[in-house]
């Protein structure tokens, strides 16, 4: 589109379009997780015995992952600062740290999943069903769907970061560092809700 | 032509009356709105009124007409809500005195009836379960029949049009409702939630009988049943 006429069509408000769009996307994502969390909470209140199941989750790995995600949120803020100063090298460095944070999170998560599956707690928990414990298997269904969906968002965030790192290396789309950061904060925020609900409440 | 099927329950007439009351409000609103819509189409055609009036409707002087109509609509809505509320409570809560208890279990694609046995209590060893197509639920007339509604597989609907009662049967839940039939006869029960290939054939009956006939039916049912258990 011709840029020389662009000034004529701007509305009074000066929020960049990308940021505005991403705010709406984030709001939509939060409603999706909101629906999951509400469903989980209603069941949790109905079945107090789920706290025994929650005791099988590893609070240590959960807490570690919380710290990792919070740190990676900090690094992405630094990346944004660097990008604002047009310092591509620094921004790339900080974003690499963030992607590494995501990677550590996923490794922790897979270690955790492995342990739980070895103990017999799977998506459908057939071993629990053999003992006649149908209700408790639903806790694990919720556990896997919530953490699994969240992990998918972590992976999506990492992919977006890597794409943007390639783009800013070529010297374009520096403003997208901020957008990736906003998305990463959302992923972090959702985890802040999931951690107490699934790991701490026992 | 009758609008509703024959009403045979104690509370059915109240639902019918509610319909007619609502219809009065609806017809008034319909006639008034249709007049408001069609009058300018005849009166204010381009040929009759070549120049339109400049009215923005943003002044209270004009907008008050819409507000008056809205308040009238809100008022009639709340009149309906006020009138219906007692009927709703009556149907959805248990009657003061339960004369007969039965169990109704929906299953793909039939309604199964459980009679409480000689002790009159459901969930005891002497319950008799009738699981046959078109077996008919026998109930006495002029008695409060309280039923426990369950489902074995998927969501079904229990619809007894002649009493105006409808309730979904939800698997995993026991829902207690009641009816009181005032006239002898055989009435359709139909399933109102889509439930598979034979949803269209899923129906059974309620057979409302006089006290004597009902007593005769239960006596023979229970004696046959005790005979059967004894011989086993």
């Amino acid at each position: 589109m011709s840029t020389k006429q662009q000034h004529l069509t701007l509305s009074e408000n000066k929020i960049p379009e990308g940021r505005l769009g991403l705010w709406i996307l984030i709001a939509g994502e939060l409603v999706i997780f909101g629906g999951l969390i509400m469903s989980y909470l209603l069941h949790r209140l109905r079945y107090p015995q789920w706290s025994e199941m929650a005791a099988h989750t590893s609070t240590f790995i959960g807490a570690l992952n919380t710290v990792v995600l919070l740190c990676s949120s900090y690094t992405v803020v630094r990346a944004h600062e660097a990008a604002q100063k047009l310092d591509v090298a620094k921004a790339t460095r900080w974003m690499t740290c963030t992607v590494l944070g995501g990677l550590i999170f996923l490794i922790d998560k897979s270690v955790e999943y492995t342990h739980e599956i070895q103990e017999g707690f799977t998506f459908t928990s057939p071993s629990l069903q053999h003992s006649g414990d149908y209700v408790n298997s639903l806790f694990w269904s919720y556990y896997y769907i919530m953490t699994g969906l969240h992990s998918l968002h972590v992976i999506a965030g990492m992919v977006v970061m890597i794409i943007i790192m390639v783009q800013i290396k070529k010297g374009k789309n520096l403003h997208r560092v901020e957008l990736a950061g906003m998305y990463w904060h959302m992923v972090d925020l959702i985890w802040i809700f999931l951690f107490p609900l699934l790991y701490i409440a026992k | 032509m009758q609008i509703f099927p024959e009403n045979v329950s104690t509370y059915g007439q109240k639902i019918d009356d509610l319909f007619w009351l609502t219809l009065v409000f609806v017809m008034i609103a319909f006639v008034v709105s249709l007049f408001v819509l069609l009058y300018p189409l005849i009166k204010n055609r381009q040929s009759n009124s070549p120049k339109a009036q400049y009215v923005t409707g943003n002044k209270m002087k004009n907008f008050k007409w819409v507000l008056i109509a809205l308040i009238a609509l809100l008022g009639s809505d709340f009149v309906i809500l006020y009138v219906e509320h007692d009927t709703w409570t009556e149907i959805e809560s248990l009657p003061a005195k339960a004369d007969v208890h039965v169990g109704i279990t929906a299953r793909q694609w039939n309604f199964i009836f459980t009679y409480p046995g000689p002790d009159g209590i459901l969930g005891t060893a002497d319950d008799v379960v009738i699981d046959e197509m078109n077996s008919s639920l026998h109930v006495p007339i002029n008695k409060n029949v309280v039923f426990e509604l369950r489902s074995q597989d998927v969501i079904h609907g229990f619809f007894l049009a002649n009493t105006r009662l409808k309730q979904d049967a939800v698997p995993g839940r026991t829902i207690i409702r009641w009816f009181n039939i005032t006239k002898e006869g055989k009435y359709d029960i139909s399933c109102t939630q889509i439930c598979g290939i034979l949803h269209s054939k899923m129906r059974n009956f309620v057979l409302a009988e006089s006290d004597d006939k009902y007593k005769h039916f239960t006596d023979s049912l229970y004696s046959a049943n005790s005979h059967k258990t004894a011989s086993n």
């Binding site: 149908y134 298997s137 | 339109a52």
Partner: protein, 574 residues
């Protein structure tokens, strides 16, 4: 504008275009094609209802499971693949950028992607008719456990379960939601950021307001259902028990998640069509829209209330009776803003100088039919009468009296109104009027008598009423036959429209005649006909609201938005 002279290949211009007008037309055409599919399904099961068990012309014998699948897919298609693309995405893409005076959407590439995801979703849905076991047949509400855990066509084999009708239906709906979410983000960002100079919020046409409110309602109500659909898919494919009561799950949870979206969805469909009325009525009454600002406030109130009424679909599903009273009150309250909007539309006509053109006839027909649909809602909003009427043809007829005028009358009003602008060609008015009267008459013929069937206890989704003595009698079986004959004629009437469309498209363009044929004040009529890629040669500047017709003291009865002069905004007090 350099783009207009730039030569583009056929593919870039008509298929993978990022031009909002082309995408809007792609959505509308896709909607018309899917309406053909939905209409054909309706013809098949309507024929079966009138003549159960008989062989159906153009189809053959209809099995009970096919009947279930066809009524389900008819509902799904008409709501998600006709109503949504035509009203929300089609109109939104065509109208929003050009009516706020800009060149294109904020994210044109996302916009193109949105259409192609929608296209794939339609293909997935159509594929589901041909997989083993057939298309999904559990009702458009998809209540589990019937829709999950093996009652329909779950297979222990993972891939067979994934490619069953049920899973494909969930997948298709999910893809469709993604497409609509992308479109919705685009609409809102475009409207906030790309308005022309002087186009303040309260100078935007109502249709732009309503499309945005509808998008926001959609985006904030669909989330829980996305989560719920994911759970349902896992129940079907992996064998989890989220909705299985034997494993602690709860079928009622799905009902809540579904209707939390499902009820706001009807307002998502209604608001854009109401916006179309708001554009058409003032033009042909030559009068400002009555109560412009109050209408916007009423729509915002209804958007908030729309997420508070969902459980009125569950009055007989075993929810707490006290909760039902709360939702009954909510239902009553939400009827108020919509009644206010319709009354304001009718008040626009009073004291006007009315031209009965083809778009105006569709607009008036919309209001007249919706009046019946809206007022019968008064019966159903009352929870006590709903005990009897729930899941009967009274409900089915009620929502066809709301959604048919909404989707089809709203769409046809828009087509006859904006067709000259976006194609540079004109539709035949005489054929348009014939099309209107046939549609209006046969629609009423199809549905009005079925109110009586519903009141006599005819329940839904039954392929053969011979088992039910209350319905298998006269005159109700005759009503079924009348309904079927009228439904067939209703479908045939649409060929008048298609004929009109194709013969008009074959004409040569007439830019002068189609630039502003209705003498309308909004910005799209100031662009060339058809508007080039980029819409305007010079971006317009806006000086007043969109509906300044018959201003006292002016010779011209249309004071366009982009003509310098007074704003007329100082004498408002609402």
């Amino acid at each position: 504008m350099e783009m207009s002279t730039h030569q583009q290949s056929f593919w870039n211009k008509y298929i993978f275009s990022t031009d909002h007008k082309v995408i809007g037309m792609q959505y509308s055409i896709m909607g018309i094609i899917m309406a053909g599919v939905g209409g054909f399904l309706a013809y098949i099961f309507r024929y079966n209802l009138a003549y159960p068990g008989q062989s159906i012309p153009l189809f053959g014998h209809l099995a009970p499971l096919q009947y279930n699948a066809f009524v389900t897919c008819h509902g799904m298609i008409m709501v998600f693949w006709v109503g949504m693309p035509i009203l929300l995405s089609g109109l939104g893409n065509l109208l929003i950028p050009i009516m706020i005076g800009t060149d294109d959407m904020a994210f044109p590439t996302v916009n193109m992607l949105s259409f192609w995801i929608f296209f794939v979703s339609a293909l997935v849905l159509l594929t589901s008719f041909f997989v083993p076991g057939g298309a999904f047949g559990g009702g458009w509400t998809m209540y589990p456990p019937f829709s999950a855990g093996g009652y329909l066509n779950r297979n222990p084999d993972f891939f067979k379960a994934l490619f069953s009708g049920t899973s494909l239906m969930i997948l298709a709906v999910a893809l469709e939601f993604v497409a609509m979410l992308m479109g919705g983000i685009n609409f809102v960002v475009t409207t906030i950021n790309k308005r022309a100079k002087g186009m303040t919020a309260f100078r935007m046409p109502i249709v732009v307001w309503f499309l945005n409110i509808a998008s926001l309602i959609f985006m904030f109500s669909v989330g829980p259902l996305v989560a719920g659909a994911f759970m349902l898919l896992l129940d079907n494919v992996v064998g989890t028990g989220f909705y299985d009561p034997n494993r602690g799950g709860d079928p009622i949870l799905w009902e809540h998640l579904f209707w939390f979206f499902g009820h706001p969805e009807v307002y998502v469909l209604l608001l854009p069509a109401l916006g179309v009325l708001a554009e058409i009525l003032p033009v042909f009454a030559r009068k400002p829209l009555f109560a412009y600002k109050p209408i916007i406030y009423l729509a915002l109130v209804s958007a908030v209330l729309s997420v508070l009424v969902w459980a009125h679909h569950q009055f007989v599903s075993g929810i707490d009776p006290r909760m039902a009273t709360f939702f009954s009150i909510g239902t009553i309250l939400i009827s108020i803003p919509f009644a206010g909007i319709f009354l304001s539309f009718m008040a626009t006509l009073w004291g006007g100088s009315i031209r009965m053109t083809v778009p105006m006839m569709w607009a008036i027909g919309f209001i007249a039919l919706f009046l019946i649909g809206g007022l019968t809602g008064l019966f159903l909003g009352s929870n006590t009468f709903d005990i009897y009427a729930h899941d009967t043809y009274f409900v089915v007829t009620h929502f066809h009296y709301t959604l048919f005028p909404d989707v089809f009358f709203g769409f046809f009003a828009a087509v006859y109104f904006w067709f000259p602008k976006f194609t540079g060609k004109t539709l035949n008015a005489a054929l348009g009027k014939l099309h209107f009267w046939c549609t209006f008459f046969f629609f009423n013929g199809t549905w009005f008598l079925l109110f009586f069937n519903g009141l006599h206890g005819q329940h839904r989704r039954i392929n053969d009423y011979s088992s039910f003595s209350l319905i298998n009698m006269e005159p109700y079986m005759t009503f079924e036959k009348i309904s079927t004959i009228c439904a067939i004629l209703l479908i045939l009437s649409q060929f008048i429209f298609l004929y009109n469309l194709f013969t008009s498209l074959a004409k040569t363009k007439n830019p002068e005649l189609t630039k502003n044929p209705w003498h309308s004040a909004t910005l799209e009529w100031t662009a060339d006909s058809p508007p080039p890629h980029g819409n305007f040669k010079v971006y317009p500047e806006v000086y007043r609201g969109p509906y300044e017709y018959s201003v006292p003291g002016e010779v011209d009865d249309c004071y366009a938005q982009n003509v310098p002069g007074p704003s007329f905004e100082n004498n408002e007090n609402l």
